[in-house]
């Protein structure tokens, strides 16, 4: 029975009452300064950028923009801290600081969740249940590694690299900060972090936590600004290691900028994951998996399952059920606890998604969007489905980073593996089937760093994450996540 039939039968009103998250205990300051050498410091350029709530288009606050001099100060502070207190501290003491930060994130978790949703537009359900708890867990996980590094890589002694520059995106602001900061500190490095220009606020609260945790000044420095600031950081002679999460285009620019410089770097770049549904899958579970794979966080996910492959014999059923499920998705106020899909992060990103939807139609794709009513103000995009597309379509090849799914069909296992791998990306993939042997055949043959079988978009600090091919190099999470921040030297062979 379809949802449509059901509502006709019962005449029931399925609309939810509003369930807004209260924001009364959140105090957003009028402005935020740079966090350098343990102090909140005004930018030398004295310029500020407004931080906008994408759900209301209202200005939340203004955030300092770092310039050349500020970058120098931040890198100097990190260098002094590296050569001074941080390297003189025992590893177990270093670890205790990370445990402390993990606890303080937990203590301020609701505040962080609300600010994350206000600043970035993601549903409170996700920032509350996914982003913030995972950020705390990440610090907790790596805290314990600090005094156990000699056990991580057999036959090698682990040594810190030095000062790291870390550049993170706007889709999981606090979580990405945690992914970067926690392993860097556990391994004894100091750092300069640059949050994305549209989502700096939770990083500034994290700065406040770090200050309150009494971490030695200069160990963590946070500078805010746009891509130009990122470029300065990458090219700064005082930086020993660069960690970047963002687009493949920028990742390649970074590689070129670092050519011949003998610097360490790790890149976590774009993706265009295949999510594969076999006829023998538990279809209703798979439908939930598809929804989670592409509509989680408005599709602003580098590992989103943006290419859906459905075995031909169940294609009709899956498409129909998916459409019905999409009808029930609640798009709207990120602070409403029932919201499934929040606001698009910025006007620029909204335009980018819209242009891809236009391209998809021009190229002959068949468009389906849920009939949800989008709010008048703010940046929104309805959950979108494209069928009748093929491998060569741009919406099948290029990363859209929005709630737009392209559906294709297949007949054989070999065919779908070939199609899944027909992309320069290799970050993630998904497979749905009840046959164990088939799971291993497919997960083994997809050239990607993270594969979810009968699930999707799951993350954990102990679970390494990162890409093959043009999706980047290096891993974050798990033992592998320590490697980017260590020089391994020989003690015994």
């Amino acid at each position: 029975m379809t949802i449509e039939n059901y509502s006709q039968n019962t005449q029931a009103d399925w609309t939810y009452d509003p369930a807004p998250q209260s924001v009364e205990h959140v105090n957003i300051h009028d402005s935020y300064e740079l966090f350098i050498d343990g102090k909140f410091t005004a930018s030398k350029s004295e310029s500020y950028r407004d931080s906008i709530n994408p759900a209301t288009e209202k200005t939340l606050t203004k955030v300092a923009e770092a310039g050349v001099e500020d970058v120098d100060l931040a890198v100097d502070a990190a260098r002094h801290a590296y050569e001074g207190p941080w390297s003189q501290m025992t590893a177990s003491e270093r670890g205790k600081f990370l445990f402390r930060i993990a606890r303080m994130i937990q203590e301020r978790s609701r505040e962080l969740a609300i600010v994350e949703s206000l600043d970035g537009g993601k549903p409170i359900r996700e920032s509350r249940d996914v982003d913030i708890p995972l950020a705390a867990a990440h610090f907790f996980y790596y805290a314990g590694w600090a005094d156990k590094l000699d056990y991580a890589f057999p036959g090698r002694q682990a040594q810190s690299v030095g000062v790291a520059a870390q550049i993170i995106p706007w889709n999981f602001p606090l979580l990405m900060a945690a992914w970067k900061i926690a392993p860097a500190l556990a391994t004894g490095n100091t750092l300069v972090l640059k949050p994305a220009e549209t989502t700096p606020l939770t990083a500034m609260i994290l700065a406040d936590i770090i200050r309150e945790a009494d971490l030695p000044p200069g160990v963590v420095n946070i500078v805010t600004g746009d891509g130009d600031l990122g470029k300065q950081l990458v090219r700064h002679p005082g930086i020993d290691k660069i960690a970047f999460t963002g687009s493949t285009t920028v990742g390649k620019d970074i590689m070129r900028a670092l050519a011949g410089k003998d610097k360490r770097f790790t890149l976590e770049l774009g993706g265009k994951a295949a999510n594969i549904i076999f006829a023998d899958a538990a279809i209703d579970q798979a439908i939930e998996g598809i929804v989670n794979s592409i509509f989680f966080n408005q599709g602003h996910v580098c590992c989103a399952g943006s290419r859906l492959f459905v075995e031909e014999s169940v294609a009709k059923e899956v498409t129909q059920k998916l459409r019905e499920r999409m009808e029930t998705l609640i798009v709207g106020d990120p602070l409403d606890k029932n919201t499934d899909i929040g606001a698009i992060n910025s006007i620029d990103q909204l335009k980018r998604i819209q242009s891809y939807v236009e391209i998809g139609q021009q190229e002959g794709g068949e468009l389906y969007q849920s009939s949800c009513i989008l709010p008048d103000t703010g940046y929104w995009h309805a959950p979108t489905l494209f069928s009748n597309v093929s491998q060569s379509h741009r919406i099948v090849q290029e990363e859209i980073f929005g709630p737009v799914l392209a559906i294709q069909t297949f007949r054989t296992v070999d065919e779908v593996i070939e199609k899944a791998n027909n992309t320069p990306y290799g970050l993630s993939g998904g497979v749905w089937t009840d046959k164990g042997a088939k799971i291993f055949k497919v997960t083994r043959n997809i050239r990607a760093g993270v594969i979810w079988a009968n699930t999707f978009n799951k993350f954990d600090p102990s679970s390494p994450f990162g890409g093959y091919k043009e999706s980047g190099m290096g891993r974050e999470g798990g033992v592998e996540g320590l490697l980017p921040y260590l020089n391994l030297t020989t003690n015994t062979r």
Binding site: A259, G260, A453, K458, F465, K469, G478
Partner: protein, 287 residues
């Protein structure tokens, strides 16, 4: 004086399991250090390189899906065959200017290095993979997989140990490779090819080219089907060129120096890790 006419050997390259001259039909004269005799060595063209990459790409899925036990046996077989050909290799190294003792040492070390890596084939995975204790009901594990097609630019100083120390860990890890042999010490290319050929290394898994580094370095680092590049040397300009080109398709670049090919210091499972990716797989636990 012996009046029999000596049968000289034509030096060839090794592409897709075949002993090939350059499609360009170019050679360069290489002069022995003692007798000053000139030998013609194939001068690989860009097309030879592209053909080799294609061969390596086509061989990848078969080689990477072989069992570790099978790869171990094939690498060990290479050592067996090399042992039998020691005299020939020693002679070639001597022609290239090594004294007898050094030549014998290099051949012995090369054979032992192959035995060492043969033994890693079914063990490095156990050392570097993990079952991850995620805090939800999922079975989650991380395992290594081969990066893909690897381009190798051999050390100039060593024509045998230098290149085998790069090829062995690459192969053990399930990758296929295209190698630019030392321009200065190219004489072992044929013997090495014959060794690989008679050791059941499948066609295309290892391709050996001779030629000019300056002429081919751009091709090696720009080719979109090459997933990783191992470079031996310390030339700043070459390194910058390679690393700039590598951005094109996010190639994994390893810059290696003398200690990465010398016997004692190079033996390490971490050499295998240069051309490995880690894959993490999740599955729910339940009904």
């Amino acid at each position: 004086m012996n009046d029999r006419i000596n049968v000289r050997k034509t030096h060839k390259m090794f592409i897709n399991g075949k002993f090939a001259r350059s499609e360009s039909e170019r050679t360069f004269g290489w002069t022995t250090s003692d007798t000053k005799d000139s030998t013609n060595i194939c001068r690989a063209s860009r097309k030879d390189f592209r053909d080799s990459v294609l061969a390596a790409k086509n061989a990848f899925s078969g080689w990477s899906s072989r069992t570790a036990y099978n790869r171990a046996q094939i690498i060990y077989r290479c050592a067996e065959i090399l042992e039998g050909r020691s005299a020939q290799l020693v002679e070639e190294l001597r022609t290239q200017g090594l004294d007898s003792e050094d030549a014998q040492l290099e051949v012995r070390q090369t054979i032992d290095l192959l035995v060492y890596y043969a033994g890693w084939a079914d063990k490095y995975q156990q050392l570097f993979s993990s079952v991850n204790p995620v805090s939800a009901p999922y079975f989650n594990f991380t395992a290594l997989e081969a990066t893909g097609v690897v381009a190798i630019i051999a050390p100039r100083e060593s024509g045998l140990l230098g290149i085998v120390s790069a090829i062995a860990p690459t192969l053990v890890g399930g990758n296929t490779c295209v190698t630019l042999m030392s321009e200065e010490n190219p004489l072992c290319t044929s013997s090495l090819s014959e060794t690989l050929h008679t050791s059941d290394v499948p066609a295309g898994v290892v391709n050996l080219l001779t030629g000019f580094r300056s002429e081919l370095i751009d091709q090696f680092s720009t080719h979109m089907e090459v997933n990783a590049l191992i470079y031996f040397g310390e030339d700043k300009d070459e390194i910058t060129q390679i690393e700039t080109n590598a951005a094109e398709n996010v190639k994994r670049v390893s810059i290696c120096t003398r200690q990465d090919w010398e016997y004692e210091s190079s033996l390490s499972p971490y050499a295998i890790l240069r051309t490995q990716e880690t894959k993490t797989t999740w599955h729910p636990i339940g009904f």
